[in-house]
Symmetry: C3
């Protein structure tokens, strides 16, 4: 039930500050992807992390099958390397839009501001694609189900589940979201 | 004329705080709709409320004709019930994106923070639709013209006018925005 | 490299406040354009300003060739006048969505709050178009590369470079972004 900002663990003001911080995280993360700076992708993840892209119908059915799955920074680095060194079928630009960030829960010291804190959040993302000489189209729309961990003051992804609505994805390029 | 944040009734800092609160309202509201939790839709409305979806060309012409019209929580509850118990033509996912929230005016006690305050705001919304095995497409883009009332500390919709640009809406499903 | 909010010139809290202010600038600016109030467009620019729309492939190649170029408030006013008095090929609605605002650097007095301060920022924009009786489509997606100057307390555009991904733009109407 809708109850406004009424969380038990932390007060509303702290939750809002975390929301802002997560928005800024998304902005830096998406800008990195949109610039194609995939060598920096791993910098957004904690050592012990999980990254998965799953169709919403599978997620709703409780299936853990994913379009993409990476566990740990090593696998994430490998995946970035693979994408960077794969000849794409056709050159294209990608652009990410994030919105509607929602802090779900906060665990740990100092209302989420202390190192080791775990912050769960959900956000909408929209990934646009532009092929050379083509129109800009919706490549994928979905929702991030994130768990962030704070290390040395800043947020890192502990777990990112990207649940996408768009079933009909051009599978030739599974670009990160 | 553009004049930065220079409102007479309230100071800029309070207006910004209200903007944040409305963003969070939209996020919870849209998430509820996107999850299909229509039984909770009515919880976002005040008892004495108005909900209307109108084409921009009708709104511009001053016509109060609407695609959807509901007055009071009873009618809103009825409408939610009808949608939930109607066999859809085809299963689909909906996803709402909101942005560009603008506080227009504030009336009432304590710069909009007191109960009974009325806050007018406008925001852009984008509603995406994904049919099973189809691409994600733009179902409707438009602008919320909202009046919120504060009750027991939280915002509720007193009036929501959804003015949509997209004339060519698949009328078989008039899903809430 | 991603380093969280760790800028040298200003502290994180000030940067965030500037981010909010720029979001509000975009909201007012885009709403003005979406209402078709082009006579007010020039009010968002400093006297000594630059406005340019450039394809990303040209920008990436360092080419300063632009789809649209205007230098100074006079040229911007002329351009607005021209668009307002041109018979459009077909009537249409435009809607701008902005997101992922990122403050890049701040120069000047009082952490960007003093008059004469220069604030560089980048933001994503999505421009939707709806032709009468047609669907809503993506007209242009891109990124603002802005320099704002503060004058009499409020932000004005000193330089706006709109770098668009969408190469296939309907050139019959080069509407502002």
């Amino acid at each position: 039930m809708y109850a406004g900002y009424d969380m038990q663990a932390v007060d509303a003001k702290s939750v809002r500050e975390l929301r802002f911080e997560i928005e800024e995280f998304h902005t830096e993360y998406c800008n990195m992807l949109d610039r194609g700076a995939l060598d920096q992708w791993v910098d957004f993840f904690a050592e012990d992390s999980l990254y998965r892209i799953t169709a919403r119908e599978n997620a709703d059915a409780g299936l853990r099958v994913g379009l993409v799955y990476a566990e740990g920074r090593g696998m994430i680095r490998d995946r970035a390397f693979a994408i960077m060194h794969t000849q794409m079928f056709a050159p294209r630009y990608m652009q990410h839009f994030t919105s509607n960030v929602q802090v779900i829960s906060v665990e740990g010291p100092d209302l989420g501001l202390g190192d080791g804190s775990l912050i769960k959040a959900q956000s909408n993302y929209l990934l646009l694609q532009t092929l050379v000489d083509g129109p800009t189209t919706i490549h994928q729309s979905g929702r991030y189900y994130d768990t962030f961990v704070r290390e040395k003051g800043r947020l890192l992804i502990r777990e990112r589940q990207c649940i996408y609505d768009t079933v009909l994805i051009a599978n030739d390029l599974v670009y990160p979201v």
